[in-house]
Amino acid sequence: MKGILKVTGRNPEQALRDLFAGWLRADRLSALLVPAWSKSGAATLALIADPEKMAETSPLLPAMAVNAASVVHQLARSGAIGQRVGLLLRPCELRGVVELIKLRQVLPDNLVMIGIDCAGTYKAAGFRGIRKDAADFANKHVRNQTALTGNSNFRLACQVCEYPRPLVFDLALGWLGLNPDKELWLEAATDKVKALLDGVKLVEGEEPKPRLKALAAFAEQRQQAAAGRIAELDKVMMGADNLVRYFADCLNCHNCMRVCPVCYCHECFFDSATFERDIAEQVRIAQRKGLTRMPSETLLFHLTRMNHMMTSCVQCGICEDSCPAGVGLTILFKKVARNAQAEFDYVAGRSLDEPLPLTTFREDEFQTIGEG
């Protein structure tokens, strides 16, 4: 089932709030995870159970504090047995959830994945002041679509993101390439959402051509932006000396790992006893080299994290947002993730059916490797 959802009163956010509140009222969902403004003015996420509280949410909010896939991981580690929980997710968050499902970190049985178009987000940390004008902030954002692709105030990851629409979902909502004051795109992909759409008035039909055209142009422009950034990065990052310099400010705090939606281990290998060196060993290393950096093995941490997670990296850039030392992880991870995933013809979050590259193999592949 797919088609146009009519919007009244030039208020697409309200149309979505009404739709969601109806699901909670009719008990078709127990709760829904939605972007929201907190009372203190922070752009954050809320798990809404009371339909009357839907007014506090901002489904189209273009600000990202965390990748919501991390929150879903927290929510659905052991399944939401008997309770049906909806998740309103941006494409990168949805791709993160898809990876977590494949990594057996999220049990999707009672989750309803609702994807929504995203043209880019602002850093949530800089968002507090905007609260006073919040009533129409998100509506304005989706209304003025000409300024979106090249918006240099977006988070860097968003400026180079070529995935404006959800790829895997139970239900998708769209506003790009449409006039969201009048209409939104709605598409159901699984039986899970049949009950949700019961009674929803939809002008059924194929996706409007202008929307498809706008989405394609969007992706192309962003791919160009990404190529430009990667070319700039290569000038300062490639090779042993540059790489060491690139990560020189790393504090070894591991924030990038902790906020990463797909870095799922309860205890990171780097927090394990393997990396606890006693003083004698540390001194021995210093004696061998003459001197050694402390804290040690910061570059090893990043290169290993790449090896462990790169096939699942959804390029959301939340790692860079969390870095107190300002290490430029976004474009670096974008480049490395693309190259790594391309080797296996894999795109993180593209499909629930494609196996994770490191959990599978074929006998008749990569036959030159190991043959010298």
Binding site: E297, T304, L358, G372
Partner: protein, 140 residues
């Protein structure tokens, strides 16, 4: 560079390559003494972190030896090692590191000659390349 002796860390699978190295030794085959061998139960057990740690700590090359495809003692460990090597190569290339310093080779327990020849070839190749830059960079 004539006096440069490469330091190579080798991870050898218990069932094939380690036994192959043993055969090379008991058969008194000559090969360069540049490799420090570490016996592991399977090439599939070698996480990239150990390869990277060796390289960043200044090893000039890392060698991983496993059973031939189809012959893994654990059925599929070497196929997984192969995928991991593809990933490691892709990542090293993406950040401009020399992935020719990491070799994966299939050497069976019967291939003592192949083991000796491979270590000879690897040592010569690294001698030609010169020492790893990470030897000089203490702040890695």
């Amino acid at each position: 560079m004539a006096d440069f002796e490469p330091r190579i860390v080798g991870f050898l699978c218990n069932w094939c390559t380690y036994a192959g190295a043993d055969l090379a030794g008991t058969s008194r085959m000559q090969y360069p003494p540049n490799m420090r061998s570490i016996r592991v139960m399977c090439s599939g057990a070698v996480d990239s972190v150990y390869v990277l740690r060796a390289l960043l700590e200044g090893a000039d090359a890392v060698f991983i030896g496993g059973c031939h495809p189809g012959d893994c003692h654990y059925v599929s460990g070497n196929y997984k090692a192969r995928r991991r090597m593809v990933l490691l190569n892709a990542i090293m290339k993406s950040v401009g590191l020399d992935d020719d310093r990491v070799w994966l080779r299939w050497i069976s327990a019967a291939e003592g000659r192949k083991f000796a020849d491979t270590v000879t070839e690897l040592t010569a190749s690294i001698k030609a390349r010169g020492p790893s830059r990470f030897r000089e960079l203490w702040e890695v």
